[in-house]
Amino acid sequence: MNYFPDEVLEHVFDFLTSHRDRNAVSLVCSLWYRVERFSRQRVFIGNCYAISPEKLITRFPGLKSLTLKGKPHFADFNLVPYDWGGYVQPWIEALAKSRIGLEELRLKRMVVSDDSLELLSRSFANFKTLVLVSCEGFTTDGLAAIAANCRFLRELDLQENEIDDHSGHWLSCFPDSCTSLTSLNFACLKGEINLASLERLVARSPNLRSLRLNRAVPLETLQKILMRAPLLVDLGTGSYVHDPDSETYNKLKTTILKCKSIRNLSGFLEVAPRCLPAIFPICLNLTSLNLSYAAGIHGSELIKLIRHCAKLQRLWILDCIGDKGLEVVASTCNELQELRVFPSDPFGVGHDAVTENGLVAISIGCPKLHSLLYFCQQMTNAALITVARNCPNFIRFRLCILDPTRPDPVTMKPLDDGFGAIVQSCKLLRRLSLSGLLTDQVFLYIGMYAEQLEMLSVAFAGDSDKGMLYVLNGCKKLRKLEIRDCPFGNMALLSDVGKYETMRSLWMSSCEVTLWGCKTLAKVMPRLNVEIINEHDQMEICAEDGQRVEKMYLYRTLVGPRKDAPEFVWNL
């Protein structure tokens, strides 16, 4: 197709922002492949072991923005041992050696060392954005290097990372000449912060739009910061504790009135509920509210707060809001699109926890709801059917009943029909997490109806290999499948081995798959890495093939078995 000069093609491709579109375009013909690869600036790699940094650099010499994901999702729940892998160091080394002008790096579930951060900070003159989500392995020393050396840093966003906090001096490492910050999020840091440095930094960052503080930042400092940054759009408070009769608090109230741009509010890691009224004025304009770490706000105060937030589109909250509170959400927040309800007491008895009633109320009041994460004590088929009817637009539906195999408490039946209704009604469903008592039937429904499903999380469900087979055979767009504690075995695993090359990854732990099954799979599919993770039973070479495998993680890859696997990971 030589109708257009390359520049025109490139210009057209510029309009394609989604990775999938650009990937699709590159497959059309070799000319398009060539034009696309030279013009590509943003690359997303969902599994860092699927490809090597060298290949990435070779194909996309114009790379500016890289997103990498490392550990499997279940690593979030302690199912993956500490040292499994996901190191970013080789990537940074390779990129540093090349002529890539990296400007943005976004990492999720990867191991990042201080050395990596140091190397990163020194190797890319134009480095602008660093986003680390659920990463670990680094300390505030690494952050100090980033602060000190990245002269044009715009975004430093640390979300839920495990960071060894050595001291608060890293903030002071931002040179006085650094005035480019637009986003700073250090809410996950556990240690002290040099407050004066923070204030000075905010004062010299006129473009700051997003600021999320950690627990160590007191209310007085918050007030001073807000004075300097009235244009903030996204605010995460630190410690929100003070005497509501104090002058500081009154000053805060006045200052907040000036912050008319705040649309996202989060934090409240420590909170004195009597100080909450100060934020009521900004609640009116909030589109996103994250109170999922605010364990100090109890049901009635939460409700009072929520009543002010009529424009909310995203709400993350703890289940101490209760069903009654969710009814208030349903009546107040009619624009709600995303709701996450986290358990405030995961292992105890949830007196204030939510049930199916809260969810039904939400479904009635919030018809635009498309993303849900809901931890609850119980769920009924009837409720799920109602929710499915009221909210047919779900893209993400994740239900977690705290007791993993609990049936419908009213009928004592499994929840197959309820989830069946969800997948049947929500034709755009892309992500689904199941819980409760479930048989093979639910998988039949999923295989039949969930045509757009890309990610499925299953735990303690199913009766036989049939369950897994329904899903593998039915969900054509499936990319990630993660299964734990289900009776799926070699039959299901081996029935359609080609399927796994169409997927990013498969995780199976505490299932019926045996070593033989995994070995067989690995033998016939060379472009899959089949990893067995055995922490306790050191699986020797002479381990029996009939032995059940504790944890198996397989993923497609172009670069063969990885060389950085620890001893307890056995790549077949």
């Binding site: 279940f74 979030d76 729940f77 302690n78 199912l79 040292d83 839920e160 495990e162 999922s292 770490y293 364990a295 100090g296 358990p343 405030s344 995961p346 292992f347 105890g348 088929n381 009837a382 705290l402 007791d403 993993p404 195999t405 609990r406 408490p409 004592m412 039946k413 499994p414 069946g420 209704a421 049947q424 997490s433 048989t439 039937q441 039949m448 009766d463 036989s464 049939k466 087979l469 055979n473 039915g474 009776p487 070699n490 039959m491 081996l494 029935s495 359609d496 081995v497 080609g498 090359e501 169409t502 505490s510 045996t514 033989w516 306790h536 050191q538 009939g546 059940r548 060389k563 001893e567």
Partner: protein
Amino acid sequence: MSPPLLRAVEGEQSDVSLVASSPTVDSISQNGSGLKERNYMGLSDCSSVDSSAVSSLSEEKNNNLNLKATELRLGLPGSQSPERSLLNTGKLDEKSLFPLLPSKEGICSSIQKNVVSGNKRGFSDTMDGFSEVKNSVYTAGNWMFNAASESESPQSVEQGKFPGNSGMNVVLSSRPSGAQSSIMKEFPGNLLQEHHRATIGTSHDHKTVSNNNSSAPAPKAQVVGWPPIRSFRKNSLATTSKNNDEVDGKPGPGVLFVKVSMDGAPYQRKVDLRLYAAYQELSTALEKMFSCFTIGQCGSRGAPGKEMMSESKLRDLLHGSEYVLTYEDKDGDWMLVGDVPWEMFIDSCKRLKIMKGSDAIGLAPRAVEKSTNRI
């Protein structure tokens, strides 16, 4: 390339693809019966005693699953909900989706291209007879219907039954703590894991059921990784609620992860102190965790022929006071583990360290002897 899948809704059947993917489905569904007929799985050789039970169970399962499939509806039980029309027009016949029937002769040879390693016996031999049994046991145990109320034999107890059964009471949610404790922190490869779903010693009267609904559930034994909350969030909530609860007087939260380092080890670990009730349990768990390290010889990644230390060896070493368990308390001091009551220890412990005995001498004058006595 994997065969494309069924198109059930329109009633099309791409027979070719179904044929290709179905043989193993066939074999699963037919389990004993299909296997018995064709005997290419060879199961009847290794587990003839159990295969009969397996086969009849699965046959029943099939029939009931098909029945259930034809009864598919989305309304509430008993209601004629309009959603029915959303279903496939006509009966949903599961058989049209997955030909589970014993199929034509050609199927055997067309079994998954890749699975055939040329030695079907080999497959069958290692293909656990007992894993088949396990599956079916799991299935049968899944419901634990107390069949006394109905006249059916245990064989009819399985999931296909639930549409119309009024008399069956599934009290799966009434978990006596005995059953709970069977959910262990690690899942060894045995049936205990599957039986965690079965209730042990349940009664089948409504009272129990209603009690479940009204009364608070028993405190749950902790299953690793459940509920699925990021550990960062769990720890964060733990810290926060600890601060708040000191005022409220509520009991403390469920997790307390601390780092554990060991001299000479290439990486550290984390343990949840709340999982243990005494020093001995902690000590055992740590032994297990660090048993892969030798003194001064850390297992390097991929290094061939390295020595692996057994757990017992490490324990001996610990007892022989080669290593000493210490912890850093709230004041930042390094203390010997074992001096204070367990609860006090958990409260003040920030991190753990397995020190070499020689290094720990300075910690307490008789650290070596103490560790022998304590750990």
